[in-house]
C-alpha cells in the first residue's frame, strides 16, 4: 500500500504502543529553551529521574535574552533567573548549552538546523509551538509543553496519538517580491486558525520545490498558526546540499549512507491523505494581516473587510479585531502610518530574509518617527550578515541592529512596543497585546516590512522597488 512520508517517518520511530494506547515515538533531537526547560529540570529532579540522552539534547538561551549590543544576563533583568536556571540545569544534566555569549547562540529553530542538528527523516521536539520550522529540511518536529518536555528528557520518547495526514499543494511560480511568508499567510487565511488541527501537513508542489530551504522553514514555521500538529517538506537535493558540511551533520562514509537513505524520503505515488488543499501561487500578491489572528489576512492592495459582509460566525471576532486595531471597514492598508517595524523571529530572521530586506533598504532611510529593528535569528546569521555588509545597510538607514534572540516576537526579553503603536512585523502572531500592551501588529514578509520602514506607512514593496512609491 502506498505510504505517506509522514507514515514512513512515524513508523520508523515507533518504539512501542503503551498500555493506554498512546504510541511512543522516539525523539532523535531534543532542543530546549530557557523559558520552559528550568521547570522541567525541577520536575525531574523532584522525581529523582536522570536525563536519558543528554547527548541528543541541546539547550538554547533565546526567549529572554536582551538584544542590546554588549548584552549580558543583567541587560534584561527579568531574564536573569531564567538564564541562570538554564545554565545550571544544563550543566547538572550534562546537556550542551548555547549560552547568551556563545558565538553560535540564537533562536532554537534557527540554530538547530544551521548547525546540522536537524536531519531529514529525523524526529525533533522543542517546548515551543514553532518547532516545525525545521520541517523545511524534511524533519518531523513536535512542539510540546513543559511536562511533556520532562517526559522526553527522562525517556527520549513522546507518547502521542497518531495524527491525521494533510497535503497542501502549492502550484505555480511566485511573482517577484512574493515570498514564503505571503504563501503561508494566504494558506492560513484560506484554512483558518484551526484548519490543520490534529493533522501533520506535507507541503508539496512546484512553488515549494522552487523555494530555498530558508523559505521552506518560514512556510513550516507558520504551520501552527493554522493549528497543525507538525508540517514539513519532503527533502530533496537542495536540502541535502544545504545540510552537507554543517558541524553536526554526518561526515564521510556515514554521510553517504545517510544520503542514500534520505533519497528514499518521499510520499509514495498514490498515497492518500485525510485532507488535501491546493493553492495557485502564481497570482499571489504580498500579504498582510489586518486583524488579531493570523487568518485575518489581506492582499497588500486590499481593503479592510466589513464585518457585516462576513458570515455570521466570523463577525464578532472581526468586529473586535477592528476595534483593537483601530481600523474602519473599507480602509486600504497601504498608506497607513506606522510607529514601529520589526524584522526577526524564528519565522523570518535567517540570512536570505535579511538580504531581501537589505536590498529594499539599501541607499534609503527609515522614515522620521519610525522605530525600526533588525534582530538576526542567530549569532551565526548576525556574523554572516555583517561579513556581507548588511548591518551597515541597516544601520546607515537608521535601523537598530541587535544581538540575536526571540526579541519582539513575544516580548519575553523586554523588547516591546508602546501602547497604541502600530507595528509591522515579520513574526508569526498578531495576537492582542503580544508585542506589548495595546500594540497593533500587522504580519508581513521581510521585504514588506523593510519597505514600510522606509515609507513610514504600510507599503507595497513592488511599487517601492519599481520607483513608484
Amino acid at each position: 500500500m502506498p505510504r505517506t512520508l509522514f507514515g514512513k517517518i512515524w513508523d520508523a520511530h515507533l518504539v512501542a504502543r503503551r498500555a493506554d494506547g498512546r504510541e511512543l515515538i522516539y525523539i532523535d533531537r531534543h532542543v530546549l529553551h530557557e523559558l520552559h526547560a528550568p521547570h522541567a529540570f525541577e520536575q525531574l529532579e523532584k522525581q529523582n529521574r536522570p536525563v536519558r540522552r543528554p547527548d541528543l539534547t541541546f539547550s538554547m538561551q533565546d526567549h529572554t535574552v536582551a538584544t542590546k549590543p554588549g548584552r549580558d544576563d543583567t541587560t534584561n533583568p527579568s531574564g536573569a533567573a531564567f538564564l541562570k536556571a538554564m545554565r545550571d540545569g544544563s550543566r547538572r544534566n550534562g546537556i550542551t548549552l548555547f549560552d547568551i555569549d556563545d558565538p553560535e547562540q540564537g533562536i532554537s529553530h534557527v540554530v538547530a538546523p544551521e548547525l546540522g542538528m536537524v536531519l531529514p527523516g529525523a524526529t525533533h521536539a522543542v517546548p515551543d509551538s514553532h518547532a516545525s520550522t525545521v520541517g523545511g529540511l524534511g524533519a518531523l518536529a513536535f512542539g510540546c509543553g513543559t511536562t511533556e518536555l520532562a517526559h522526553i528528557l527522562a525517556t527520549q520518547v513522546m507518547a502521542l496519538q497518531r495524527p491525521k495526514r494533510m497535503r497542501v499543494t502549492l502550484d505555480g511560480r511566485l511573482a517577484p517580491h512574493v515570498t514564503a511568508k505571503d504563501v503561508a499567510l494566504r494558506i492560513i487565511a484560506e484554512l483558518g486558525v484551526a484548519g490543520a488541527r490534529g493533522h501533520v501537513v506535507e507541503y508539496t508542489g512546484a512553488a515549494v520545490r522552487a523555494m530555498p530551504i530558508e523559505s521552506r522553514m518560514t512556510l513550516c514555521n507558520l504551520n501552527i498558526e493554522m493549528g497543525g500538529r507538525s508540517g514539513f517538506v519532503a527533502p530533496d537535493d537542495d536540502a541535502f546540499t544545504w545540510i552537507a558540511g554543517r558541524p553536526y551533520a554526518p561526515k564521510g562514509p556515514l554521510w553517504d549512507r545517510a544520503l542514500a537513505h534520505w533519497r528514499t524520503l518521499a510520499s509514495d505515488d498514490g498515497a492518500t491523505f485525510d485532507r488535501e488543499h491546493m493553492l495557485d501561487c502564481s497570482t499571489l500578491e504580498p500579504q498582510i494581516t489586518w486583524g488579531t489572528d493570523p487568518s485575518q489576512v489581506l492582499d497588500i492592495s486590499g481593503r479592510v473587510p466589513d464585518p457585516a459582509a462576513l458570515d455570521h460566525g466570523r463577525r464578532p471576532a472581526a468586529e473586535s479585531a477592528l476595534a483593537y486595531m483601530g481600523l474602519a471597514p473599507g480602509t486600504p492598508l497601504v498608506g497607513l502610518p506606522v510607529d514601529r517595524v520589526f524584522i526577526g523571529s524564528c519565522t523570518n530572521s535567517r540570512l536570505p530574509d535579511l538580504k531581501a530586506a537589505a536590498d529594499v533598504v539599501r541607499g534609503r532611510h527609515v522614515a522620521a518617527g519610525v522605530i525600526a529593528m533588525v534582530v538576526p535569528g542567530s549569532s551565526t546569521v548576525k556574523r554572516e550578515a555583517e561579513a556581507a555588509g548588511l548591518d551597515r545597510v541597516f544601520r546607515d538607514a537608521g535601523f537598530f541592529w541587535g544581538e540575536s534572540g526571540c526579541s519582539m516576537c513575544a516580548g519575553g526579553n523586554g523588547d516591546r512596543g508602546a501602547p497604541g503603536e502600530r507595528c509591522v512585523s515579520t513574526t508569526n502572531r498578531n495576537f492582542e497585546h503580544r508585542q506589548g500592551p495595546k500594540v497593533r501588529t500587522h504580519l508581513v514578509s521581510p521585504e514588506t516590512a523593510a519597505a514600510t520602514a522606509i515609507a513610514g506607512r504600510i507599503a507595497d514593496v513592488r511599487r517601492l522597488r519599481s520607483g513608484q512609491a
Binding site: V15, A16, R18, A19, D20, G21, L24, Y26, D28, L35, H36, H39, Q47, R52, D55, L56, F58, S78, A81, F82, L115, L119, G121, P127, S129, G143, C144, G145, T146, T147, E148, H151, A154, T155, V157, A159, V193, A194, R197, G198, G227, P247, Y248, K251, L254, R257, A258, H261, D293, G313, P316, A317, A410, G411, G412, R429, F431, E432, H433, P437
Partner: protein, 208 residues
C-alpha cells in the same frame, strides 16, 4: 499527577472561539520563574486600562469569582505551548474545561496536569451552554469522569473521553512511569537504530 474522579464547581461561560494562550497566560506575566499562577490567568482581560478591575469580565463577576468549570468555544488554547496556560486554570481550581474544540498542544497539556478537557457533541454542547447561562453561577455542576456525566440544575448530559485519556486521568498515572515500563523497547530501538541509521543516534560537533 492528581487523579481526576469527579469535580464540582461553578461553571463560567466564556463563550468565544479561538481563545489563545497569550490571552490565558500573557508572556509578560511570566517574568519570574515562579509567577503567581492564580493571578496571571486572563490577567489582561481582568483589568481596564487604568489598572482597575473590569466588572464586565466574566471571571470578575461576583458569582464567578471561585470558578470550577470553564465553558468556552472552538479551538481553545491556540497559540503557544506554554503550560502556564494550564497551571493558571489549576491555581484557580478550574479542573474542567468544556470547549467546542481544543488546540492540540493545549489539550495535551491539560491531560498532563489532571485538567479534564471535554468536547461535547454539538447538540449537547448547545444544551449545556444554555443551562450554564441560565444557572448563571447560582448553583454548581458536577462532572463525573467515571460515569462520563455532567450533572447540575436540570442538567444530565453525557460526554465521551477516549478510554486511554480517561484511564490516565482517573488513575492519576505517572506518565513517565507508564512510558518507562517500555524501557527495554526504548533501549532495543536505540540499538537497532545505531546499526541501521547511526547518524540519528549520535549528535556530535565534528569540529570538536
Amino acid at each position: 499527577m492528581q487523579p481526576f474522579i469527579r469535580h464540582t464547581g461553578i461553571a463560567v461561560p466564556l463563550l468565544k472561539d479561538d481563545i489563545n494562550t497569550d490571552q490565558i497566560a500573557p508572556v509578560q506575566a511570566m517574568r519570574a520563574l515562579k509567577p503567581d499562577y492564580r493571578k496571571l490567568l486572563f490577567m489582561r482581560a481582568r483589568r481596564r486600562d487604568d489598572g482597575s478591575e473590569d466588572p464586565d469580565f466574566v471571571l470578575n463577576r461576583p458569582q464567578f469569582r471561585e470558578p470550577g468549570i470553564l465553558v468556552t468555544g472552538h479551538n481553545f488554547g491556540a497559540g503557544s505551548s506554554r503550560e502556564a496556560a494550564v497551571w493558571g486554570m489549576l491555581a484557580n481550581n478550574i479542573r474542567v474545561i468544556v470547549a467546542r474544540s481544543f488546540a492540540d498542544i493545549y489539550r495535551e497539556n491539560c491531560l498532563q496536569n489532571g485538567l479534564l478537557p471535554i468536547v461535547l457533541e454539538p447538540k449537547q454542547a448547545d444544551e449545556f451552554q444554555a443551562r450554564v447561562l441560565a444557572v448563571d453561577g447560582a448553583a454548581p455542576f458536577t462532572v463525573d469522569l467515571e460515569a462520563q456525566r455532567i450533572n447540575g440544575p436540570d442538567t444530565d448530559i453525557t460526554f465521551d473521553l477516549p478510554a486511554a485519556d480517561r484511564m490516565r486521568l482517573i488513575e492519576g498515572l505517572d506518565d513517565i512511569g507508564l512510558t518507562l515500563k517500555h524501557h527495554d523497547d526504548i533501549a532495543g530501538w536505540e540499538r537497532r537504530m545505531a546499526a541501521d541509521q547511526p547518524w540519528l543516534q549520535a549528535a556530535t560537533d565534528s569540529r570538536r
